[in-house]
Structure formats: structure tokens, C-alpha cells
């Protein structure tokens, strides 16, 4: 797992993808930050964090599109799958590498908090909660992206599928409202990424939301392992 993690991290910086992701992330967050906070002179960052989910939906597919699709296409998966590493180890290595790059992106929000604190004293508890929420949401979305990447050999297709999957998870409660069956609507409401994340942006640190994102990430990584396993049998 360690070897795969290190290779993935360095490949983000050999290929332009790491730079594209980080530049895109810093740029979008910067615009959102200046629009929401600086122009209104507000020290509250909740609006900034709420809008960030849209940035993730666009940028995380770019971060994860290559992870598994490209291995299959270039046949380098033959190297990984015939070496003494478990499938779980391979997927986990890739996940943590993407997550590290993502964390480098999220770190910028801390800078914004510091900028804001120059004007007035922000509520640090809320901000730490926001950042934690953003990291958890990102982890779940990265797992979704890696899963989508395992479904195809074409990285562009992987990015497009990931994008739609992420939009769907974001809008689940809206979709639920359209479905007349009450029980289904309630379940979708609970599974909606936006609902879960929104609490974090308000500064509510609910353990069940933390568990939700962690288990969503684990579930999608597990599904990825299953896809790889199934491919051997086909």
C-alpha cells in the first residue's frame, strides 16, 4: 500500500492533474471567498463552505478519473495485481494519495480563516468544524470517484460518470421530494450528501454525520474492490 500511495502522489505532480486540481481549487475557493466574505466584510465563512460542495463536484472527478481506469488501459494493473498486495491495499493506497492532494487544496481555507481573523475574531470552533466537514465530504466524494474510475478504461468517461454520480448524491433529497412515496423520500433525505454537509457549515458537529461520510467512503472503496475482483472472474 505504501508503495502505491507514494507512486500515486508523485504521479499527481508528474502529470498536470495535481496542478490542475490545486490551481482550480485555489482559484474557485478564492473567488467564492472574496464574493461572500471580503466584499460584505463578513467574518462568517459558512456561505463559503456551503458553496464549496459545488467546487468539489466539478474538481474531484478530475482528481480521481485516472486512478483505476488508466491502470487497466495501460495494462499496468498486471503489475499491481500480480504483486503480493491485496486489492484492498491497492485501492486504499490510491484513496489516500488522492485524499492527500485534496487535503493540500482544503488547507487554503485555513488561510482564509486567518485572513478573516485580521478583521475580527472569528469563531474558531465553527471554522474547525467546517474544515472537518469539508474533509469528510471530500473523502466520500473521492471514494465515489475512484469507484467510477474502476467501471471504465476511459478516464474521460470516468470523469463524466463521477460528475453525474456526485450531482445525484448532492441532490438526493430533492429527488426524494419528487417521489410520492414518503418512506423513500425520508431515506433519500438521510442519504443526501448536501443535507449531511449543510449541518457542518452551520457549525453543528454531529457525530452521526461524521459516521455517515466515513461509512460512505468505506462503502464505495469496498465496491471498488468488488469490481476489481469481479473483473478477474469475467
Amino acid at each position: 500500500m505504501g508503495a502505491i500511495f507514494r507512486r500515486e502522489v508523485s504521479s499527481y505532480f508528474i502529470s498536470p492533474i495535481g496542478y490542475i486540481f490545486l490551481a482550480g481549487f485555489y482559484c474557485c475557493t478564492g473567488v467564492i471567498f472574496s464574493q461572500n466574505s471580503l466584499q460584505y466584510g463578513s467574518t462568517k465563512l459558512d456561505r463559503v463552505f456551503a458553496d464549496l460542495i459545488l467546487v468539489l463536484i466539478v474538481l474531484i472527478p478530475i482528481l480521481t478519473m485516472k486512478t483505476i481506469s488508466e491502470e487497466k488501459k495501460q495494462k499496468t494493473d498486471q503489475c499491481l495485481l500480480t504483486s503480493p498486495v491485496s486489492l484492498g491495499g491497492i485501492v486504499a493506497g490510491k484513496f489516500f494519495a488522492s485524499f492527500l492532494i485534496y487535503t493540500l487544496g482544503v488547507a487554503i481555507t485555513f488561510v482564509y480563516a486567518v485572513v478573516v481573523s485580521a478583521y475580527a475574531k472569528p469563531d474558531w470552533n465553527v471554522i474547525v468544524g467546517n474544515i472537518a466537514g469539508l474533509l469528510l465530504l471530500g473523502a466520500a466524494y473521492i471514494a465515489v470517484g475512484i469507484f467510477c474510475s474502476s467501471l471504465t478504461e476511459n478516464q474521460i468517461v470516468a470523469a463524466v460518470i463521477s460528475f453525474f454520480a456526485m450531482v445525484l448524491l448532492y441532490l438526493l433529497s430533492t429527488v426524494g421530494n419528487l417521489i410520492p412515496i414518503d418512506a423513500v423520500g425520508k431515506v433519500l433525505d438521510k442519504l443526501c450528501f448536501w443535507n449531511r454537509y449543510y449541518d457542518f457549515t452551520l457549525g453543528l458537529f454531529d457525530m452521526s454525520n461524521v459516521l455517515f461520510f466515513v461509512s460512505a467512503a468505506v462503502a464505495f472503496l469496498f465496491l471498488t474492490v468488488r469490481v476489481l475482483e469481479k473483473r478477474r472472474w469475467s
Binding site: R6, R7, S11, Q74, K75, C79, L81, T82
Partner: protein, 322 residues
């Protein structure tokens, strides 16, 4: 040691590998011979745990690759059909990555240096793999398989894309490695397998058609009763002389290869060797034999011979694929 028992792999209706069994012991080099689409790569992919068999068993040093994959893979070095290289890495980064991936315990720098020396990639060590020529990519693939000194080496067409000098070097290297390891290599070139292997398994359309030592198989495959000769002299006279030799069944006159030199395809009764007699008679008439060889079998001939006990003669011996 590698043991394969009743292995099958089906892709839908297509039987890529159909109930094959064979065994290779320590210190043995097993050649896996078959035409395109015979199922060589599929078998190797199963042996290395890349894909799973539909039924049957594959044991690496006694460890079942399905039941205990991680442990079995520790014993393996695999060079797939296309070397699994990360194009954006340098040779150095790649080999270090594989070293870590295999959790190799040998001293890193000296081990990698040894391997680079063996496959002669020292001078491209710092270059990006994408920019290497095909032959060098193949060598890096081979280097990757050797990392960790695995006891079992599985090489899928290891000499593809190499220049003739390098082919000989790699064959010598494989022979050396095979002294204290189990090596399986696949090829569709008979002479390559004959040059390197102790044992040959011939497969066609997913089935084993022969499994024998190299000597026995060659003996079964020699065909000194089928000759191709180039003889200087008028073709009808020569044809008459050849027909006069006892045991000759058929003579075909081929093209005029040089001025006054024709090619003849001679078939004698099976088990009779007419070469000496042919020489004597033509020498008496002062008609020199410029070239004489037993017709080489093409792979297709071998399969026909092995499966039907008969070789199909082809007029031009240089159409063989060796």
C-alpha cells in the same frame, strides 16, 4: 515448482484454455509453444493470479494461487505480454516502485544494480520510460520480473522486440536463471523454445497437444525424409537421378534460384535417409549440391503432425517462421 491441474478458462462460450495440465520442477525451463490465440497468455495470467480460472488448480511452489494469492505471488516474477510500465516514470523510479511493491528485503541499491547489469539497462537508468525504444521497454519489463529474486519466473514472449544480439543474451540469461529456479516462457518460435527449454508443452486452441522433453519432441519432429535441395544442373537430368534413388517417393522441381540452379523438394519413405546416396550420385555426375536441408516444420506443420501424425509438406522451406 509449478503445477497446473485441469485448468480451464471460458470467456462466454469461447474456451480460451481447455482442461490443461502440466508440471515444471525446480531448475527446469518449460517452453510454452503455440500459435496466436492458443491460450498461452491466458494460462500465464491465471498462473500469476491476474485472472481467475473457470475451473482447475494452479500451484506455485505448492501454494494455490487462488486460495493463498499473496503468499503465492511472493514467489513469482512475471513479465506479461505487454510490459506493465508506468510511462511517466524513469527506469529508476519504476524499479524502486516495484521493489517496494514486492516488499523486497534484499539490499536495495546493490540488488537493483545487479538486475540492471543483467538486462543491460544501466545507461538508460535515469531516463523516462516513455522515451525508451521498444526493446529497452521489454528489458525494463524483464528487470521488473527479476526484482526480489523470485523462485518462479513466468515470461510471456520475453524476446519480442529485441535485436538478434540481445535475443541471444537474454536466452543465455534465462538459461542461467533457470538453473536454480522454475521458469516458464512462452513463444511461437520453435527454435527459440528448442534453444532454451528443457521441456516443451505445445498448446493449440486451448488444449495441450504435446508435453515432452525437448529431445523426445525433436525426435518426433525430425523429418529427414523430407528434403529441400538446390542442385546445379539441368533440372530434368537431376530429377531423373533423384528418382533413381531407392526410397524416393516424390520429387518436385521448384524455381530456378540461380542460373542453372533449381530447387527440389524430395520426399522419401518415412524412416529412410537418402542424403548420403543423393550426394554420391550427384557427385559422380558432377552436379554439385549447393544447399541441402531437412524441411523445417512450421508451427502449423507441428500441430498437424502432433495431432494427425503426419506433416504437410510446404515447397519453400524458408517459409518457416523461425
Amino acid at each position: 515448482m509449478i503445477e497446473v491441474k485441469n485448468l480451464s478458462k471460458h470467456y462466454g462460450d469461447k474456451k480460451a484454455v481447455d482442461n490443461i495440465s502440466f508440471k515444471a520442477d525446480d531448475g527446469e525451463i518449460l517452453g510454452f509453444l503455440g500459435p496466436n490465440g492458443a491460450g498461452k497468455s491466458t494460462t500465464m495470467n491465471i498462473l500469476t493470479g491476474y485472472i481467475s480460472a473457470t475451473s482447475g488448480k494452479a500451484l506455485i511452489n505448492g501454494i494455490d494461487i487462488l486460495e493463498n494469492p499473496i503468499k503465492a505471488k511472493r514467489e513469482l516474477g512475471y513479465l506479461p505480454e505487454l510490459p506493465p510500465l508506468y510511462m511517466d516514470m524513469t527506469v529508476k523510479e519504476y524499479l524502486n516502485f516495484v521493489y517496494d511493491l514486492k516488499k523486497c528485503k534484499l539490499p536495495r541499491n546493490s540488488h537493483l544494480k545487479d538486475i540492471c547489469g543483467l538486462v543491460k539497462i544501466d545507461h538508460v537508468y535515469k531516463r523516462v520510460i516513455k522515451n525508451l525504444s521498444k526493446g529497452y521497454k521489454q528489458r525494463v519489463g524483464l528487470a521488473q520480473a527479476l526484482i526480489g529474486n523470485p523462485k518462479v519466473l513466468i515470461l510471456d514472449e520475453p524476446t519480442v522486440g529485441l535485436d538478434p544480439k540481445q535475443i541471444i543474451e537474454i536466452r543465455t540469461l534465462i538459461k542461467k536463471l533457470g538453473k536454480n529456479r522454475t521458469v516458464i516462457l512462452s513463444s511461437h518460435i520453435l527454435s527459440e523454445v528448442q534453444a532454451v527449454c528443457d521441456k516443451i508443452v505445445v498448446i493449440n486452441e486451448g488444449k495441450v497437444v504435446a508435453d515432452d522433453t525437448e529431445d523426445n519432441l525433436s525426435r518426433r519432429l525430425v523429418n529427414e525424409h523430407l528434403l529441400t535441395a538446390r542442385i546445379d544442373g539441368p533440372s530434368d537430368t537431376v530429377e531423373g537421378i533423384i528418382k533413381g534413388i531407392k526410397g524416393v517417393v516424390k520429387v518436385e522441381v521448384g524455381n530456378e534460384r540461380e542460373k542453372g540452379v533449381y530447387e527440389y523438394r524430395i520426399e522419401a519413405k518415412e524412416g529412410t535417409d537418402i542424403r548420403r546416396e543423393l550426394f554420391n550420385r550427384l557427385a559422380q555426375r558432377n552436379m554439385p549440391i549447393l544447399d541441402l536441408r531437412t524441411s523445417e516444420l512450421s508451427l502449423e506443420d507441428i500441430f498437424l503432425k502432433l495431432t494427425m501424425g503426419e506433416a504437410i509438406p510446404a515447397l519453400t522451406a524458408d517459409a518457416s517462421d523461425s
